[in-house]
Assembly symmetry: C2
Homo-oligomer: 479 residues x 2
Amino acid sequence: MSKGVTKQSENYSRWYTDVVQKAELADYSPVKGCMVIRPYGYSIWESLQQTLDRMFKDTGHQNAYFPMFIPQSYLEKEAEHVEGFAPETAVVTHGGGKELDEPLVVRPTSETIIWSMYQKWIGSYRDLPLLINQWANVVRWEMRTRLFLRTTEFLWQEGHTAHATFDEAEEEARRMLEVYRTMAEEYMAIPVLTGIKSESEKFAGAVHTYTIEAMMGDKKALQSGTSHNLGQNFAKAFDVQFQNENNELEYVYATSWGVSTRLVGALIMAHGDDQGLVLPPKLAPHQAVIVPIWRNDDQKAEVMEAVDNIASPLREKDVRVHVDDRETVTPGFKFNDWEMKGVPLRIEIGPRDVENDQAVLVRRLTREKATLSMDEVTSTVPDILEDIQQTMFDRALKFREDNTLTTTDYDELREFIDNDSGFVLAPWDGTGETEEKVKDDTRATIRCIPFDGPEVEDGAEDPVSGKPAKHWVYYSRAY
Amino acid sequence: MSKGVTKQSENYSRWYTDVVQKAELADYSPVKGCMVIRPYGYSIWESLQQTLDRMFKDTGHQNAYFPMFIPQSYLEKEAEHVEGFAPETAVVTHGGGKELDEPLVVRPTSETIIWSMYQKWIGSYRDLPLLINQWANVVRWEMRTRLFLRTTEFLWQEGHTAHATFDEAEEEARRMLEVYRTMAEEYMAIPVLTGIKSESEKFAGAVHTYTIEAMMGDKKALQSGTSHNLGQNFAKAFDVQFQNENNELEYVYATSWGVSTRLVGALIMAHGDDQGLVLPPKLAPHQAVIVPIWRNDDQKAEVMEAVDNIASPLREKDVRVHVDDRETVTPGFKFNDWEMKGVPLRIEIGPRDVENDQAVLVRRLTREKATLSMDEVTSTVPDILEDIQQTMFDRALKFREDNTLTTTDYDELREFIDNDSGFVLAPWDGTGETEEKVKDDTRATIRCIPFDGPEVEDGAEDPVSGKPAKHWVYYSRAY
């Protein structure tokens, strides 16, 4: 842990794996494709969970829990859905020592099992909207896995809502994307593009898929959350009808939306540096770590008293303070350890500091050092944390802007992508053929048709096909 | 929902299922043995979770997450463990469209996968103690299932700790049992017996299993939480050794402990009555529900203003208040609905109440009605909730005491058990044979050897075998 990590510039992918392991976020497990989320990594997930859960409840949603086993036949009821998910399922064929009559699939997502229950629960417009979320583990069999970003089993939340009209479902799908945008930008300090997915990239069974897309430190895109307007597809597959206010039977409209432990990967790659993780204060399990320094028991007593005089008032101000009073490791080891773990602020207090009624503050983001009086420490730390949060967002936004090319020239697009230089905003003719050609040529995909993209001017052409352009879209290589 | 439930006296088991369904706690799923936890039931589980999670963290534990798939060979490494769990596992044989080289078992409990990781993480006494908890779903294939009490998949927490000495592990196992006792008695308002399990009832792989045992409304016992001192069994099975302070290699000592969604079943059966659920205020998702009553829009305006004048100050006092302002159902329907759902306190406010600056309070537990001035409502509700919490515990304790027989006579024991009259405290010779005979004769099992049982007097005999008694034990039929 005291040793460093591979430099980003040397090998970004190895840097990522090093940080995950040296910051003790996760570890490989003996089960192929499955990871262990270690306590420190899990505490970051808990921060994300608590924040999201509050936002879901504030928008009227309730949590529930559905079985993780799904009869294989259920998956097959929605044609696009089974095509999308069946190839990557894990299948239980035996239970209680006997072969099962019908194999059970471990949920890759829960639309089918949930809509089979909604069939029982929904009869009238009075039962709508039904706004349910589930925190759960899901399984998608993956060939090439990466800690947090792509694992066979992962943790996530999946919202599943039922509505009386298409417009209401559309509004809900957009509302939840906005919740995800807020989460990403205001808490994770990661600016995101918001927009709609192209046909080829949308969720299997959706009418529209909306997405938030973030730029990672290597300028690749990470799809960080999606929200789907499912129309009546699942209601029809599971025969979920309701009596509307005019006493007519109608199929119910649906949405679903989810984010996963992948968000931990986003935090690592959006903010991390060659010293390790850098956590945004709003989500950091420890916002400030106090490292006491002493050589003998007399010093220890006075230093620890000073530590408490800082920790207590900060905690009263709701600052999450951790005092690292381990005696088996040196202060230098602790400095490295907490830098690796991305704690926003380090406060050092030694005997001379006690004498001078001061402490040393070191910001993780900039490694900026300042000596402040004890009073200043307790009064300014909350502001400093806010400042760090804002600076992290501003930096990440500038990074994305500096690494986004707007072009109408295909050669320029190709060269930019080939050099891993970031996102490209370009006009698109709206066809799958063009999308496919760009993918074949560059390994870049359409990340989204942005909500706030430029207007398509009259006569504008798709730079790939020369056909009339329909939208401006973002192309990028992606995780 | 407006219809009642089967009377307890008529058919307790049907009463239970009725309450679970009519209070919308859970529902049957299309997957055999698996249930759906509905939003209201899940919110009770969230209350339990949050309370326990805080207690675990206060005692130094951290959460983590381990894969739910376990290689079949891992389960087999601890001899007793595999014997206990292998017959009830669900087995994944196919993943990603292919047959797996080695089948994966869906975790019935996670000792094996966790200790395979501890093998990587533990090397020295400095790495100990390791205090980890996991919130997860587990699967044990069940033939006869019951909502919340026994389902194939269930939610739980499982603590897994590693220690340098047997005594430390023993202390930890006892400490966590004490956490469970506190949870049951101080939050759930359910008195529990604490004690040690007999050999035949202990966890597969444990040295000692400790348990909390509660009496349900039908006088049967419900094992509500267990804590195990696992000795070095799993460390030996997974070769987890550490260097002790004397530089010697030693096997690590372990504990594990867990409670599950079964606790929701305990709440239902310990406190419920013929009107439905009765929730203890400390865990009730809504502690007080306000039902406004009006006939026209003018009344509505003034009633809702009064409602807000009560709800706001109560919320400021951290009372969890729910205002039921539904317009599609009648006040009478709401009264029944919230009685069924066990909300501790109902506050009714109609136009005449507004005129008289008063509100009507109805306690769920006793159905006692009181008319209080608005000021009294906001000032006394916190005390009333505390009083209800205490009354619920006192009642449950009296019920258990009234339905416990202390005897040294086997005929008396048999008759008492045969009449479903509750717990029997009797001397036991410590042998499995005697235990087995009582079970065959009466379907009662030894629930525990209580920590605070009576002393065994010299010459005391086991009433079944006539052999010298070793302990006083509790016998009961159980869920």
